[in-house]
């Protein structure tokens, strides 16, 4: 058969971007594509996409006037088959014995040995990013939202609140002498109730330690000296930030944690979600979990981000739009030009609060920003995946970010959205800047920027709780742009803020009564309830302590601005 003798040439074409596909082969391809398409090509193991490229090549080469097109050809390795980006065109000059223009970027060698024929004719099941992760992790090439599948877990994280319970279940169900499924895939991060004299809280960290020693867990970010966090070289702080900073978040992987804000890691283009103790106990023993494939909601954020907005405003906008149950059991995918320009920390803020909309997970597709961040953090290989162009999304929401204004979520719900400027008459009693949502390095730099712009002192107690040791260090060492070399800590001190505290979850979720910055008193005065503007993630009754406390969720810009005036304040008061 004519075609078979060409098949080597065709393979080499893909391999080298150079070929001797002569006119006879071109003609053979023509016959096939017109008359026997697609059965012949697929019977040789070429995919639909590869056939398209061949056909385009033939068409272009038989019409010499088309020689001017240039190609960006970026195959993306996906389940062993080619998957082309939507920008594929072709540049060819002549058909016979000529070099194809070498504008092809990174060609993936086709698998020579095991070629699975693509599904003939019909479009291969297009999948979203999340569906693809499920597909790979469950080793099922095809699946759909609603399917329940057993998924291999890449990383399991737990902390001091849920770790002891999870270990208890693990031992009860698998036996006192059972061993965990993989000592290198479990990351144990004490962070919730650390700097407290509560005996049970302290005991829980000891329980973590005992388990880690017994199981020889590789990653345990221990703390023993509660009086001086810096004396603990292993201690990190807030689990979700530690996971990112320590390189445990990788595109395409499955990361589970016994904490609802585990979804933060979706910023790295992976599937990350929170589970309870029982599920965690199950994973500890088996490395697997049963999950239902979620459908995906797509959020397209376009437009230039104004310099008074932060990712926190974006997610508050979205939650306000779809409500606290708007994404229940669904995946939230964030794309668009605005997202592409967000830093990793900003993407983490975005994904952090998907659970506040009920979301199962959030994802930002991995790109150059992701890869650069990961360069010095992980040496483990990873394989990003991306939503197919024809993937089905449950809904798509489009936002023109350039038109948004700073927001708050008023008590007592994260979806109780309001413009910050419309709350300017709300007198406040305190400001809290911290947590996985708003306690990262860039969050503190942002707050410092507002204090610097004002030059004045805060009017209310302003609590600063860096998320991790690294963030704390940054606050004390990084120069704030435009300040003439001052660090955040210096600016905070000049503004009269509290000294940055020991890194942990702190008062974001209340905690034991002696937790720093906890809202213990309901009343600010005999007439008014305590009001706090916070960069945290939830404001349900009692979230930060007393159930009557009033919490306004906001970005670090808005929180800093509010601290300066003593009222809920739009940061444009200082930034424009």
């Amino acid at each position: 058969m004519e075609l078979k003798s060409c098949s080597n040439d065709i393979v080499i074409f893909f391999l080298n971007s150079q070929t001797d596909i002569g006119p006879d082969c071109c003609h053979a391809i023509d016959i096939i594509t017109c008359n026997y398409w697609p059965a012949m090509l697929t019977s040789l193991g070429f995919t639909v996409e590869e056939g398209n490229i061949l056909r385009d090549y033939y068409n272009a080469s038989s019409a010499p006037s088309l020689g001017g097109l240039t190609v960006i050809y970026q195959p993306q390795k996906d389940l062993g088959s080619f998957c082309f980006s939507s920008t594929s065109q072709f540049s060819v000059n002549k058909c016979k014995k000529s070099a194809v223009s070498k504008k092809i970027v990174s060609v993936m060698a086709p698998q020579q040995s095991e070629r699975r024929p693509a599904t003939t004719g019909s479009v291969k099941n297009a999948m979203t990013l999340t569906e693809k992760i499920f597909s790979r992790a469950s080793e099922k090439p095809q699946l759909s939202p609603g399917d329940n599948v057993w998924v291999n877990v890449d990383i399991l994280m737990t902390h001091d609140v849920c770790g002891p319970g999870s270990f208890g279940i693990f031992k009860k169900e698998f036996g006192e002498n059972a061993k965990v499924w993989d000592r290198e895939k479990i990351v144990i991060i004490p962070d919730h109730y650390i700097f407290t004299s509560d005996e049970r809280a302290n005991r829980n960290v000891d329980i973590l330690r005992d388990f880690c020693m017994e199981q020889n867990i590789k990653y345990f970010y221990d703390i023993k000296d509660l009086g001086n966090f810096k004396a603990n070289p292993d201690y990190k702080g807030v689990c979700h930030i530690a996971l990112a900073q320590e390189g445990h978040c990788r595109p395409g992987e499955v990361l589970l944690g016994t904490d609802s804000h585990t979804c933060t890691a979706g910023a790295f283009g992976q599937f990350a979600t929170g589970i309870g103790n029982t599920d965690a106990g199950f994973v500890l023993g088996t490395g697997k979990v049963l999950l239902k494939v979620p459908p995906t909601l797509r959020f397209v954020l376009d437009g230039e981000m104004p310099d008074y907005l932060l990712a926190k405003d974006l997610i508050l906008q979205i939650i306000g739009e779809i409500s606290v149950a708007g994404a229940t059991y669904k995946s939230m995918e964030f794309v668009g030009t605005t997202v592409e320009r967000l830093s990793m920390e900003e993407r983490m803020t975005l994904c952090n609060m998907v659970v506040e909309a009920g979301g199962k997970n959030g994802v930002v597709p991995a790109d150059g920003t992701t890869f650069k961040y990961l360069e010095d953090k992980t040496s483990l290989p990873y394989e990003p995946v991306y939503s197919d162009e024809k993937a089905s999304f449950l809904s798509e929401y489009r936002f023109d970010i350039s038109k948004l204004e700073p927001l708050v979520a008023k008590p007592h719900s994260p979806d109780n959205r309001a413009l910050a400027r419309e709350c300017k008459d709300v007198k406040i009693d305190r400001v809290y800047i911290g947590s996985c949502t708003g306690g990262k390095t860039e969050d503190f730099l942002a707050a410092a920027k507002v204090f610097l712009a004002s030059g004045k002192k805060v009017k209310v107690p302003t609590f600063l709780v860096p998320a991790t040791q690294k963030v704390w260090m940054d606050v004390y060492t990084l120069p704030v742009p435009g300040s003439g070399g001052k660090t955040c800590s210096q600016i905070f001190e000049e503004a009269g803020c509290d000294t940055p505290a020991s890194p942990s979850c702190g008062a974001c979720l209340g905690g034991p009564k002696d937790t720093y910055a906890r809202m213990n008193e309901p009343m600010a005065s005999c007439l008014s309830l305590q009001v706090c503007v916070s960069t945290t993630n939830r404001n349900f009754p009692g979230r930060m302590g007393h159930k009557e406390g009033q919490i306004y969720l906001a970005s670090p810009y808005t929180a800093a601005a509010s601290a300066l005036t003593g009222y809920v304040t739009d940061p444009r008061e200082f930034l424009e």
Binding site: N148, C162, N177, W181, Y193, G281, G510, G511, K547
Partner: protein, 248 residues
């Protein structure tokens, strides 16, 4: 909206309509073998069969026989009751797998509800609730992934929740632990029922009867969910259906 039929655990599930009260002991098989994804045996062990009760004998339902119904007083709450209201964070130092702390956790169930709820879920100086059934609005259990939430409700003596809808992780934790039976209502029962009404839930008939008002309401069918809770949670279910291989 999360429905009760939205979780399925395998092709060979059989629906049994007898929910097992939480005092039923968990039986651990004589031996278990697990394999990891790459085929290596992760855990193989043998142990003597032991009976581990889920609650101590202080539970007043210790002598109750398994039934297909729930009957008792109901406690009504509104929408978006989050985990901080179900069990405030300051009590999370209690470890649920520790029997004493399990009981203590129960004593704090729903203590985070604001003062607008004039009737407490658990009376002052009591550690158990007199309300067997909670009736809720939408998005019940939103917020944290803490399993302490359904565990606290179960430890307090609640048997079932009938909500308009659930938050994902809470629903999953309820099913995984087998602590409470999460049911979905068709209508907004939180507006139809009042705290203290006497209700009966018939699982097989997917029906809730409010004896105090005399009205009946349709519930969404349990579907594949029933066997998991009946078995006593995901571990027991996984063994029962052979999801976790048992040796011999």
């Amino acid at each position: 909206m999360v429905t009760a039929s939205s979780i399925s655990f395998g092709a060979n599930t059989t629906f049994t309509s007898s929910p097992i009260p939480k005092t039923k002991p968990l039986f651990i098989p004589h031996s278990l073998k697990f394999t990891t994804g790459n085929g290596r045996a992760a855990v193989t062990f043998q142990r003597a069969v032991s009976v581990i009760p889920k609650a101590t004998s202080a539970d007043s339902r210790a002598t109750k026989e398994p039934t297909a119904t729930f009957h008792g007083l109901c406690y009504v709450v509104g929408d978006n009751i989050d985990t901080d209201q179900i069990i405030p964070a300051e009590y999370l130092t209690l470890v649920p797998s520790n029997p004493d702390e399990y009981e203590k956790l129960g004593s704090y169930a729903l203590i985070g509800l604001p003062a607008t709820y004039t009737t407490r879920f658990i009376d002052e100086n009591e550690t158990k609730t007199k309300y067997k059934i909670i009736i809720a609005g939408g998005n019940f259990g939103c917020g944290s992934s803490r399993e302490h939430a359904p565990v606290a409700l179960g430890a307090a003596g609640c048997s079932a929740v009938v909500a308009e809808s659930y938050a994902r992780i809470f629903f999953r934790n309820s099913v995984a632990t087998g602590e409470i039976y999460p049911l979905d209502s068709e209508a907004r029962l939180c507006e139809e029922c009042s705290t203290g009404d006497v209700v009966t839930i018939e699982i097989a008939e997917s029906r809730l009867i409010n004896h105090t008002t005399g009205k009946e309401y349709k519930l969404k069918p349990i579907g594949d969910l029933g066997p998991v809770i009946d078995a006593g949670g995901i571990f027991a279910y996984a063994r029962k259906t052979g999801m976790i291989a048992s040796r011999n």
